[in-house]
Structures are given as structure tokens and as C-alpha cells.
């Protein structure tokens, strides 16, 4: 099942909207609560990164019985050095953004910790794609 969400760069008051919607959807599928949490936390970070760092983006969410896949695609500055961006604490966020409570440089590491797979590709000056996958294992089902 596929759904798609628009994510507007710079709109901080709506940051978290898409992940909240996805949470509401996953709650209906009798999945393990911990799995839902992992997906939502990872998705939230990806969503916020578009709001904070990019101009505009989309999140495509695909749910099958095997896995939940989220693909973020944005138009934005892109990431020059992905390995560096992955390091805990690395951030290019401005002082202003830090004051708003973002920019600790923990978002991508947090995705890595919560997702089963994380794939990032980026073209500096154009945009970024972030793919997050969480697998639904048999023991993730509540019976």
C-alpha cells in the first residue's frame, strides 16, 4: 500500500505531520508497538531534515507484509559528504535553527539506529534521496 506526503521546507510548525499520519496508519495493522515506534522515529528525523535543510520534498511510504519502506526525495542543497553527515554531532544547522531545538547532528545517526536499512544518495546543489526500510518480521506481529 502506497501513500505520499508533501513536505514543505522551512515550515517548522508542520514538521512531524507526515510521520504522525503514518503512525496513525500503522496503528491499524496490528504491528508490534516497538516496530511502529522505530518507523515513526526514523521517519520523523527524515521529515525534519527536509523541513530544516531542503526547499521541498516528498515522502513515499510503501507498506507490504514484509516491510515498511519510506523514500524521501527533496529539492535542496544536497549533502556533500554523506559519511561526515552520518557522524553523530555533525550539523550545518545555523544558530537560529539550533535555537528552535534542531541541529544537534543526531538525526541521521538516529535513523540509522532505528531503521533496518538506510540508503542516502545526494547531488550537491540539486537534492537528496533518503531511503528507510524497516522489516516486518513474524515476531513483529501481535497475535
Amino acid at each position: 500500500m502506497k501513500t505520499q506526503y508533501d513536505i514543505e521546507g522551512g515550515n517548522f510548525s508542520k514538521a512531524g505531520f507526515a510521520s504522525s499520519e503514518v503512525k496513525r496508519m500503522l496503528k491499524q495493522l496490528n504491528l508490534d508497538i516497538k516496530l511502529i515506534k522505530r518507523v515513526v522515529v526514523a521517519m520523523y528525523e527524515g521529515e525534519v531534515n527536509i523541513v530544516v535543510h531542503a526547499y521541498h520534498g516528498t515522502a513515499e511510504v510503501d507498506v507490504s507484509e514484509k516491510r515498511i519502506r519510506i523514500l524521501f526525495t527533496d529539492r535542496g542543497p544536497g549533502i556533500k559528504d554523506i559519511d561526515q553527515a552520518m557522524q553523530a554531532g555533525f550539523s550545518t544547522a545555523t544558530e537560529k535553527i539550533r535555537e528552535m531545538g534542531f541541529g544537534a547532528g543526531m538525526g541521521l545517526p538516529n535513523i540509522k539506529a532505528h531503521a533496518d536499512e538506510l540508503n542516502i544518495s545526494s547531488t550537491p546543489g540539486k537534492g537528496t534521496q533518503v531511503e528507510i526500510i524497516c522489516y516486518i518480521k513474524k515476531d513483529h506481529q501481535n497475535t
Binding site: M1, T3, G16, S19, S20, K23, M25, K27, Q28, L29, N30, L31, I33, I36, K37, V40, V41, Y44, V63, S64, E65, I136, Q141, N142, T143
Partner: protein
């Protein structure tokens, strides 16, 4: 997923119901539908918050109480009354007068529910500090909130602080006290005067507790009228009240908004109103709420002062209680403390079980399939949430359709489209509307 029916205090009187759908539109758990011109309640979704009761224009929602005459079955008749009961009365009426009238009405003992607040507070603090409950910890005081979390926020069930509300502890204390005086268990009838439907449901089918030691529940509006009439009739005729006990300021304010929060040393928030609470719980569930240790959540606006069975204005009730609290003793040693050791042993609740009403199917693949069907059904629906289909929203109809509980042809927009394509005639469309809203509403001679 548990599917057993739960006791509900809220019932629909189908003779009175005019099928106006007001209740359906305000229900926070989408537990109501209109069928055959009458509201119908989905028992597993109802949390007894009473919003429907509040909005019914013809009093067709009834809150089932125990027959007052039942009190007569007991030799010792204990009325456990919450502080908001006395808060209902005009200021020239004293607490003594109110209690005295309750004695006149046949109770042998009057006890205020909040007398056990000290013990509850102590246990709450202990449990909070033990770190055993997920943070933010959520107070179990309001039974509608506990039920809301069970059905709509199952992942937050571990946040519920497993400490009974003062009412239960007060009832246990009084029973114990009378037994110590040589009274037989079976001779004691403990009756709770309730400000809301949720407390009734909590007494009749407790969550996280085997059985309640409360024998019956009397609705506050019913008793208010009786007491008020009595006081106005014979102003001077006082009745002696056995072992009268004084509430402290903290006790009196406990059931109002901020009543619990006020005393929690840790960072805490108090939120009242079921929709405010729901919105906040969404954020808690998203892990967006950091560094808050304790949440006092109450279903009613102004908490229990705004209970659906309180007749008085909630703001005035709260004001009166604040005035009473200002005059209350700060340090009074209560009799209940004699039993502290024993009562503390039974003050914790068992873990609360989630019972999600959201899950479409126990089998994940079937649930995903149904979700897809809901999504495609939604694409055909107008998303105006007009409720003409007899469901509270387009999404609720889509869900009902996929679960085989409704037909998409109930949607008036779909009907118009089908009529236009000659796929439905006017009579069929009228028949469908009749099935939903009842014959009289579509009678052309009306």
C-alpha cells in the same frame, strides 16, 4: 486483541432518540452510528466519556445508575461523595447541611472520596520515583482517560501510573473500618455518588482491579435534587453526622484541574477536555514530548466540576471548592492513616491491558489489504463529513464499508452520481436514506 463487551453506563433510549446524530458527531472514539432513525452504540469503542450525553437535545442518552431503593438492602449505608458534590450547592448551604440531608435520605455514614488523597499521592510519588513506569507517567484518576488510552493509544498503556484513584481507597478504608467495629461485610452497602458515567463504568467493570468494593452508584444530579429540596424545606433540622472528617485543601482541590499536578515535584502538566487530551496524547505517542514526568489528564473541561452529571456551572463549582479549600485545615490527622499500612498494600492496580479499537485485522496482510480498500474507498467519497450516510465521517464510512458493516451507496454524493448514470433510481436512494434516518424523516406528507 480482546473483544469482550465492556460494561457501559451510557445507554440509548430508542423511544426518546430522534436520530439527530448530534451524539455521533461529537463522539471522540467514533463509537456511534445512526441506523433506522436511531443512534446505535458500538460497545467496544465507547469509553464512557459522556460527550454524547452532553450534546443530546432530547435526553435520549441515559446514564444507568443503581436504584436508590437498593440502599435499603443494607444495614449500614455508606455514601462516598466526591468534593464536587458539595461544590454544586449555593454558597449559603454548608457542608454540614448537605451531609445532614444525606443522613435524612437514609445513609448511615457519609464519607468524602478525597479523604484518601494523602495515600494516593504518596503512592504516586513512590511509583514515579521508582522509575518503573514509562515517562511521562499518566495519572489513572480519570477512568475515561484510562479507557481512551486503552482503545486509541495502546502504545501508551505502559505510561499509566498503576495507582488507584482516591475513591477506591476510601471505599476500602470504610469497609475495613466498619468491619473492625464488628460489622459483617454483607451488612455494609457502599454507594458512590458519581459526577460522570466513566466512574460508573469503572466501578462496574474495573480496569486493572479484580472487583470494586463499591456496591452501587447513584447519579449526582439525582441526589443533588433530593438533597437540595430537603435543605430548602427544613433548614434547621440537623442530623448528627457520625465521625465527621475534615478534608484538607489538597483533598478538596484534587478532582479539579491542576489538583494532582500542583503537588508533583517533578515537571508535570495538567490537561482537561477529551479533545485536548487526545491531541496531546498524539504528541506523546510521537515521542515529541520530552522532559515531562507526569501528566494529569481529565476528560471533562474543568475536570470533575464539569462532570456530565453535575448540574451546576463548572466554573462556579470550581470557585466554591477553591473557597472551601482556602478555609480548610492544612494539617489534619485523618483516621484513614490508622490503616495506612494495609491500604497501601492494595493501592496499586494491576497492569492495564491495551484493547485497540483501531486494528483492522489481526493478520497483518489482511489488515494491509483492508487499509488499501479503505484508501480506495476514500478516493470515491467526498470528504465533507456530512454524516448523511449515518457514519460520523467519510473515513468512518469507508472503514465500515470495508468491514462489511455499511454500503458505499449510503453516501448521498455517490447516490447522486449513480442517479446521473442511471445506475440508481430515486426510490432506491430514498429507501437507503429511510434505512438510515427512519421512515418519518423522509415521509413526503410531513
Amino acid at each position: 486483541m480482546k473483544k469482550d463487551a465492556f460494561h457501559h453506563a451510557l445507554k440509548i433510549d430508542t423511544d426518546l432518540c430522534i436520530g439527530c446524530a448530534n451524539c455521533m458527531r461529537v463522539c471522540p472514539t467514533e463509537a456511534l452510528r445512526v441506523q433506522g432513525g436511531k443512534a446505535r452504540l458500538e460497545a467496544n469503542h465507547c469509553i464512557d466519556c459522556g460527550e454524547c450525553f452532553r450534546h443530546c437535545p432530547v435526553n435520549a442518552i441515559i446514564i444507568e445508575q443503581d436504584d436508590f431503593s437498593q440502599t435499603r438492602n443494607y444495614k449500614y449505608r455508606v455514601a462516598i461523595i466526591p468534593a464536587v458534590f458539595t461544590g454544586q450547592f449555593p454558597e449559603d448551604i454548608t457542608t454540614e447541611e448537605i451531609h445532614s440531608s444525606l443522613m435524612h435520605l437514609g445513609f448511615t455514614h457519609i464519607y468524602e472520596a478525597e479523604s484518601a488523597v494523602d495515600l494516593v499521592f504518596k503512592k504516586q510519588q513512590q511509583t514515579l520515583n521508582s522509575g518503573k513506569v514509562a515517562t511521562p507517567a499518566i495519572s489513572a484518576f480519570c477512568p475515561a482517560i484510562v479507557r481512551l488510552i486503552q482503545v486509541k493509544f495502546p502504545s501508551l498503556v505502559p505510561h499509566i501510573l498503576p495507582v488507584k484513584p482516591p475513591l477506591d481507597v476510601s471505599a476500602a478504608y470504610y469497609l475495613r473500618k466498619l468491619k473492625d467495629q464488628g460489622v459483617y461485610d454483607k451488612d455494609v452497602g457502599i454507594f458512590y455518588v458519581t459526577p460522570c458515567a466513566a466512574k460508573i463504568a469503572a466501578v462496574k467493570s474495573p480496569v486493572g482491579e479484580e472487583a470494586s468494593c463499591i456496591n452501587g452508584v447513584i447519579n449526582m444530579d439525582f441526589l443533588y435534587n433530593k438533597v437540595y429540596t430537603l435543605i430548602r424545606q427544613k433548614k434547621d433540622d440537623f442530623c448528627a453526622i457520625p465521625d465527621r472528617q475534615q478534608l484538607s485543601s489538597m483533598d478538596i482541590l484534587w478532582s479539579l484541574t491542576n489538583g494532582e499536578k500542583e503537588h508533583v515535584a517533578n515537571r508535570s502538566l495538567a490537561i482537561d477536555g477529551i479533545n485536548n487530551v487526545t491531541a496531546f496524547l498524539e504528541r506523546v505517542e510521537n515521542d515529541e514530548i520530552a522532559n515531562i514526568d507526569f501528566l494529569e489528564l481529565r476528560s471533562c473541561d474543568e475536570s470533575c466540576a464539569g462532570g456530565v452529571l453535575t448540574g451546576g456551572n463548572r466554573f462556579l463549582t470550581a470557585e466554591r471548592l477553591r473557597k472551601r479549600a482556602a478555609k480548610a485545615p492544612i494539617n489534619n490527622v485523618k483516621d484513614i492513616l490508622r490503616y495506612q499500612k494495609d491500604l497501601m498494600k492494595q493501592i496499586s492496580t494491576n497492569p492495564v491491558e491495551p484493547r485497540s479499537m483501531l486494528i483492522l485485522d489481526n493478520d497483518v496482510s489482511s489488515a494491509i489489504r483492508k487499509m488499501k480498500q479503505i484508501q480506495s474507498t476514500m478516493e470515491r467519497l467526498p470528504r465533507v463529513d456530512c454524516t448523511v450516510c449515518g457514519a460520523p465521517s467519510c473515513h468512518a464510512l469507508a472503514k465500515d464499508v470495508v468491514q462489511g458493516k455499511a454500503s458505499i451507496r449510503q453516501c448521498i454524493f455517490i447516490q447522486k452520481r449513480l442517479e446521473q448514470k442511471d445506475m440508481m433510481d430515486k426510490n432506491e436512494s430514498l429507501d437507503i436514506l429511510r434505512d438510515i434516518w427512519g421512515k418519518p424523516k423522509l415521509d413526503k406528507n410531513r
